[in-house]
Amino acid sequence: MIQRIYSTGESSLNEVIRALSSEASNCINCGFCEAVCPTIPAFDYKTSMGARGRINLAKEFLSGNHSLNFRDPFESCLDCYACFQVCPAHVNSGVVSELMKQAIAEGQIENQKHQVAEMITKIVFKYKDPLGLKKELTEWSKGLEFENSYETILYTGHMHQLMAYNKKLSEMLKSIGELYRFLAPLLSSLGNPSFIFSKFYDKKIKERSESQLKNIYFLLKKAGVKFSYLGVEEPYPGTLMIDMGYVNEFKQYAQWVTDLFHKKGVKNIITVDPHTYDVLLNKYTKYVKGFDFNVTFYLDHLSTLKFSRLDKIVTYHEPCHLVRHTDHNVPKGFIESITNLILPIHNGKNTYCCGGPIEAFYPKASEKISDKRFKELKQTKAEIIITSCPICFVNLYKDESVMDISELLANLVT
């Protein structure tokens, strides 16, 4: 049997290369992954922008050809792991992309660093949040009461709150095009960029995301869970850093976050979005010393609640980071028991990405992916489309039939 080094986040070029070749060399070029990779149709059917093409390009890199344009093929990877699901040789092109992004971020491939990624990493280090916002991120909790002890915390990971800003930012990026190359370093050198970013947000999304967080709070309370919230002291988990390949920075930063949790006496962390859940479960446990917290997803805590039945056809968009990255499968049974659930053609482990992860850097392709997924969801003839991830929600929010599962549950809880 072949021994595999399955790992991202190696710290030197040699280790990245070792991990890359361990992953990529098993590929037999069968093309199965190409058929399910959402980025191929989104990037005009170019196979260099898809799973098998990415492996082929990683092999070029491994053979010493460092001068190609690697940035677009690898940064456009959604990290959705649809490819891994079908690969007969158990190769994960998503992981290959993660490693190649790391090589880019570490400057191993010349002139391909992404200025916005650099900027975000710097800001996260400085302000413990990608946009330097602090006050704004806690607004959802105004007037809510929490426990005094931090033993169990509701950890937002800032994901819901950032959606409103992210939407505006990507609209800005779309309109300024390549100009961001000059603006990004400028912004990251500012004393505090929050005074700029705090002005740019999508009002409707902000209201909606905050109300989703409130619903989650309300559902947990009703289920009798006792928890607290770190408020302005709540740090961002560093998800974007690791997503963009800044592994060494992430390790350092995540250690700081972990130490902070320890200092506060945290033992149990209730996450409210799949990305934060995934990063804590899979990356913190791997790269950080002493990450010994009990990490759960908020839906795991609602089993004692009773819900009235909704006699409507509902379809559920399963987020990749729940079903493929963490194997989380509670919500489906839940929804089935309280609605008439019809799943879309791609469901379960074969779910289809919403396009969200590349919204900021490749907005047009992201939109094509979300349009395709939205069409599939609509084909079920469902009256309500639900999801359980703030990124999926924003990307699929193309009409009023789309809602977060927290909104549905808050309406039905008795």
């Binding site: 049997m1 072949i2 361990s22 060399s25 098993n26 037999i28 070029n29 069968c30 093309g31 199965f32 190409e34 058929a35 399910v36 191929i40 149709p41 005009d44 059917y45 170019k46 196979t47 260099s48 898809g50 098998r52 093409g53 082929n56 390009l57 070029e60 190609l68 344009n69 690697f70 093929p73 079908v86 007969p88 040789a89 158990h90 053609i345």
Partner: protein, 452 residues
């Protein structure tokens, strides 16, 4: 003349790829054969663009390599210079007509996707290669693909009613129709099947469909020698019992899926998997008469699905049995009359032993299709080639053929000639060449493959 610019005028700039990093993925298919970089890759979006591209290439003598899912195992879809024409934008299912039992799909639709779509109508398109997740309608027609439903339903050629084809000079034509039968002279539709992109570009296909069959039972019969189990199909045939699926696995193959859910008795050398849709009692009786050392019956649908999945994923499981990532599992593909399977396999084992390579053998016993999988490290390729040749000739000696469902491509050109020579049928090659010349006098389509 700058061919890339001319192509861009036809399909639009974004659908013409010339940068090194963009064309790298088109140089290989799923075989171990690497082609030569093309000048450009073109991704047309409709039949008129295909026509204009071909006309341009025809007039300027530029070879065109058509590519579907790029899953070919014989080097059939790798370019040798020229341009690659990717069919992936032809991804629409255009019409399902249950009343007249056909579906119309564009050439780039994946076979598996078509079947998921038909499932909701209670219908299927029977050819189901293990690669159906990625193999396209155009590619599977051009290789006459088969699958585990072959025992009852045959290969692709039984299911193609009509085709929209663009000829090498750009002429758009249609072969066949929506009708379930025709008697109109030379069957040009049939001629396209298995032609490996050498005669024309398929853009759209009208395919016959069948109701999804009800499965009654699945039988797993284990044998302690290869000699016995080959008799099963002959016995079933004699009694007019045609199963839905009849597959076999040898010991190495059984071992590869053991941990995934099919444990086998210690002294088992072969496993036969049979699925029936009718007369299961009689099938069971026939199997018992061949004295398997163990016989299991599965009636639960999910268990049947899971077992079949293991069989379909067998090649994948063998990949995990490689000793190093550099080792390849070269999948061979021959066919003999079902009654000759046991002796064929016996001889293949002897050949592998004397050449010194590890093999795993499995296949679609229902139609006599044997896949000999060769584990070959980087230094074993010459030996592997020798074994492939020998395997092919063993099949031929047993009244079989050198390729069952994967085609000829680059890999089996020599073998095909040997088969013709063995049977003293060299005239077949001449006929094929003449046909090629009628369709493609300038030889621009898939130059260097099949019969060259």
């Amino acid at each position: 003349m700058n061919i890339a610019n001319e192509l861009a005028n036809i399909v639009g700039k974004k659908y013409v790829l010339t940068k090194y990093e963009e064309i790298v993925p088109y140089v290989k298919d799923a075989s171990y054969i690497e082609g030569e970089k093309p000048i450009a890759v073109v991704i047309p979006g409709n039949v008129f663009e295909v026509s204009k591209v071909l006309k341009l290439c025809y007039e300027n003598d530029v070879p065109v390599y058509v590519r579907g899912g790029g899953t070919s195992l014989t080097g059939s879809s790798v370019p040798e210079g020229g341009i690659v024409m990717s069919m992936l934008r032809f991804d629409k299912i255009l019409e399902v007509n249950i009343k007249d039992r056909y579906v119309i799909a564009e050439a780039g639709v994946r076979v598996g996707e078509l079947n998921s779509y038909l499932e909701k109508y209670g219908y299927m398109y029977p050819p189901d290669p293990a690669s159906d997740i990625a193999a396209t309608i155009g590619g599977s027609i051009n290789t006459n693909a088969g699958g585990v439903r072959g025992a009852k339903y045959g290969a692709t050629k039984e299911w193609v009613l009509g085709l929209e084809v663009v000829l090498p000079d750009g002429t758009i034509t249609q072969f066949g129709e929506k009708t379930l039968k025709r008697s109109e002279g030379y069957d040009l539709t049939a001629l396209m099947i298995g032609s490996e992109g050498t005669l024309g570009v398929v853009t759209k296909a009208t395919l016959k469909i069948a109701p999804l069959p009800e499965r009654e039972a699945m039988f797993l019969a284990f044998y302690d020698s290869y000699k016995r189990f080959g008799d099963v199909i002959s016995t079933l045939n004699e009694r007019g019992l045609i199963p839905l699926t009849a597959e076999f696995l040898d010991e190495v193959s059984m071992n590869a899926v053991k941990s995934y859910g099919i444990p086998y008795p210690d002294n088992a050398k072969a496993l036969l998997i049979i699925i029936t849709s009718e007369m299961s009692d009689q099938v069971l009786k026939a199997i018992k008469e061949t004295s398997p050392i163990e016989l299991r019956t599965i009636k639960d649908k999910k268990e049947m699905d899971d077992t079949l999945k293991l069989r379909k994923g067998l090649y994948s499981s063998l990949l995990l049995e490689r000793e190093t990532p550099e080792q390849r599992v070269i999948i061979g593909d021959i066919v003999v009359p079902p009654s000759k399977i046991s002796e064929t396999i016996e001889e293949i084992y002897n050949a592998a032993k004397s050449i010194g390579l590890k093999i795993a053998v499995f296949g679609h016993i229902g139609d006599g299709n044997v896949h000999v999988n060769i584990f070959a490290g980087p230094n074993d390729f010459d030996k592997a080639k020798e074994l492939l040749l020998e395997t092919g000739m063993i099949a031929v000696k047993h009244e079989g053929c050198v390729s069952a469902e994967h085609g000829i491509g680059l890999e089996k050109k020599e073998l095909l000639l040997k088969e013709f020579a063995y049977r003293n049928n060299q005239i077949n090659l001449e006929l094929m060449k003449k046909i090629k010349n009628v369709f493609d006098p300038k030889n621009i389509l898939n130059r260097g493959k099949l019969i060259e």
